[in-house]
Amino acid sequence: MRYAALGVALLAVSSLPDYRNVAQRAGLVHVFPNGGDTAKRYILETTGSGAAFLDYDNDGFQDAFLVSGEGGTNRLYRNDQRGHFAEVTAAAGLGRKGWGQGVCAGDYDNDGFTDLVVTYWGRNVLYRNLEGRRFLDVTGRARLTQERTRYNTGCAFLDYDRDGDLDLFVANYLKFDFATAPQPGANPYCWYRNLPVNCGPRGLAFDSNLLYRNDGGVFTDVSESAGVATGQQSYCLGVLTGDFTGDGWTDVFVACDQTPSLLYVNQRDGRFSEEGLLRGVALDEHGKALSGMGAAAGDYDGDGRLDIFRTNFSDERETLYRNRGEGEFDETTSLAGLAHNTRFVGWGCAFLDFDNDGWKDLLLVNGHVFPEVEKLKIDIRYKDRAILYRNLGGGRFADISESGGAAMRERHSARGLAVGDTDNDGSLEALVNNQNEPPSLFAAARGPTGNWMILDLVGVQTNRSALGARVRVTAGGRTRIDEVRSGGSYLSQGDLRLHFGVARAPAADIEVEWPSGTKQTLRAVPVNRVVKILETEKPTGG
């Protein structure tokens, strides 16, 4: 019995990822400023910024993009395919200063090259990718110019009307103006544990979320008519798209701070209906609105439905909402074993299968909004470590943060998190935007134990980025699902390709349900490779 137990223990250790922070070695060395590091006078200093993986030059390797707050510039790094990233910001035309917040990617003009949106406190920018050589600011031409300063946060491309081109959703946090913002300690919403701190979001005015419809590369603001701008009483941050109701149409979940999170359910007629409360994703199980920051979607329990995970504030729990079918959710945080990490302020998060066992694990990064908390000498810290949960199957997770490698134990004031496979070896890397520090790049020192496949979907009738495509991978008697999505996590963009762990299976069946309605099936596809899937006009396989 003792030997059997030892065997299990050794197996468990060998499948731990041993994440190391390889950012320095990989050339990700620049600091991304974001407000004060010992004190933050304004809430604007607390929310930036996002991170992205995207293959902007179509060489098959994920490049890195990081957004900066005031005092720095956003930066693009080209993946040289040898474990190093070369900074190409200036040549790519992406240098820009300001209070950058989020980033999302998608091929809005269907020309085969991935474009970028960067959100700002100020005005958003749409960058058109010119054949992988450089980017051009086409905000004005695409009619995305904003008429006033807005506190734009998370964004995501999506094809909500299934017309084959990508629309754009942008969350808005609140109305902020340096000239009128109250100072730390000015009112009861400017205090934290008896410390005067930056004010808000409570006490500051709400703003409205934005939806832009794309018609041939020109956008129209349809926020009002589509029902995403009306009566908003939430401070919105992370945007997560997905077909949560299972009807084939993309819905939008928005994580909101100190106010109910929102679930915009696609009505299939160009409008959305906000139904977060009754569907069970607005509040926690105690009926309390938490401080939602980031959000991730994944089928953690293998029932074929997309579940939602949300990061929150300290003295709150993270929240896991299990989809019980047709977009109705139950909070299962405690049952899933995620209820104990209550000292962290969580931001970027992602479902990822780090050991390729076919179960989606969870990674989240943390950091407080009040650097002043360090004065208290309590267990809540401004810079804190990341959290890694291993999915044990059966709807339960185990916290393996402390044994997940040195990178997991590093303390930063982290915000954006993007996950992708930068070297196409089936082991996922994670890019983290740390406030006032260089980013982190988590890479597993120990390769995954299971087999894998990465699916690179290309739409034809569907939007070129294949956003909204639902994929089922069946291997070893189990079916896993996922969707191609823009945005997500916290103001960030992950690899647009889909990664599936398939454990010991040598091959897998793949079914793709394209937003165009076409269903495509590929049988017995060999594992451990990147599989490019071009949308066919007629259903295949079967």
């Binding site: 009128t180 109250p182 009112n187 006490g203 005015a205 409360l277 009926g287 300290s314």
Partner: protein, 336 residues
């Protein structure tokens, strides 16, 4: 101020007493010396006497004012004059350390003006003062008692100084290991002090120790249930909630907790029965309303779920005119 304005109007209308009008004007403007000089000439009018006493009380001459204040408070038929003189009388009695008299006056004031913020403020001050005096007396007369440590711990708890509270509770337990409630309070302080998982185990021990002293403590059973829930032992937790309800059948939080567990077990009908009771007892509890809404939803009772949703939304709506607008103005900095 509204009382003075009304009096000014009525006095002006009658045009009977220039001295009274002048005195009220000066009182309103805060010119107490001038007010006193005028009001002293208007003592034939009960309003003149009332405001003369109020002027003296406002300028730290309670001894001179007390009798008139008491008389006006008891006999004046004008509610506003009674309210003002009553409040001034309580302040004078408090200032003179006549706590019992102040309590008697405050009780009458409260009965007459139950929703008046000024009256409630005076009551709060009065109780705070009484509390401070008694605590001081306890520290003076019984410094070695475990009660001193207990009250110290409770004070530290209100100040969110949990390490100090824990230390004081432990001292109290050391002095009197059989005293009830100490282990319970220590358990709660341990939970508030730390986010670490170890704190759960430590607190659990304390609640168990409380139960060893008093096996009928439903609150301790409930707290253990909460810890077991956090430790992902829902079935064990449910047994504790059940036990808490056996001890105290109308324990709304335990009803809620057990109802939520039944909900996760998909025993919707049982959950609804428990949660409906919980909502009846705690109609303003967002947690109870939310769980009942979810139970109805899961049971397919959409109309009931929507009704609960509407109730929940009412509870979650910020108070009238929220604070927010006021706070924005309060903290606003003028553009340079």
């Amino acid at each position: 101020m509204r009382a003075i304005k009304l009096l000014l109007l009525s006095a002006s209308a009658l045009a009977q007493n220039d001295a009274l009008i002048e005195g009220l004007k000066q009182f309103q403007a805060g010119n107490y010396a001038a007010a006193e000089a005028s009001l002293a000439k208007a003592q034939a009018d009960p309003r003149g006497r009332a405001f003369l006493a109020l002027t003296r009380a406002a300028t730290s001459r309670c001894r001179q004012a007390a009798a008139e204040l008491a008389d006006q408070f008891e006999k004046n038929t004008d509610a506003e004059v009674r309210r003002l003189t009553g409040i001034a009388l309580v302040q004078c009695q408090l200032g003179g350390n006549r706590i019992d008299e102040a309590q008697a006056t405050a009780a009458k004031l409260r009965a007459a003006f139950p929703n008046d913020a000024d009256v409630l403020y005076q009551l709060a001050r009065l109780h705070m003062r009484a509390w401070n005096d008694i605590v001081y007396e306890m520290f003076q007369k019984a410094p070695a008692s475990f009660r001193v440590n207990q009250i110290s711990a409770e004070i530290f708890e209100t100040q969110a100084n949990y390490p100090a509270a824990i230390a004081e509770y432990r001292k109290a337990i050391e002095k009197n290991p059989r005293a009830l409630n100490l282990h319970f309070r220590l358990g709660r302080a341990l939970l508030l002090n730390s986010h670490a998982r170890e704190a759960l185990a430590q607190a659990l021990q304390e609640f168990e120790a409380e139960l060893a002293l008093n096996p009928h403590d439903a609150a301790a059973e409930y707290q253990i249930g909460q810890i077991l829930t956090a430790q992902q032992k829902p079935a064990e937790a449910a047994r504790r909630y059940q036990r808490a309800l056996e001890l105290a059948p109308d324990f709304p939080e335990a009803l809620l907790a057990l109802g939520k567990w039944k909900l996760t077990e998909r025993r919707n009908d049982e959950a609804i029965t428990l949660l409906e009771r919980s909502v009846r007892m705690l109609p303003r509890s967002e947690a109870a309303r939310y769980s009942l809404m979810m139970a109805y939803r899961n049971a397919g009772r959409t109309a009931d779920a929507l009704r609960e949703k509407a109730e929940l939304e009412k509870l979650q709506k910020p108070p009238e005119g929220e604070f927010t607008e006021f706070l924005k103005k309060l903290g606003e900095k003028k553009p340079e």
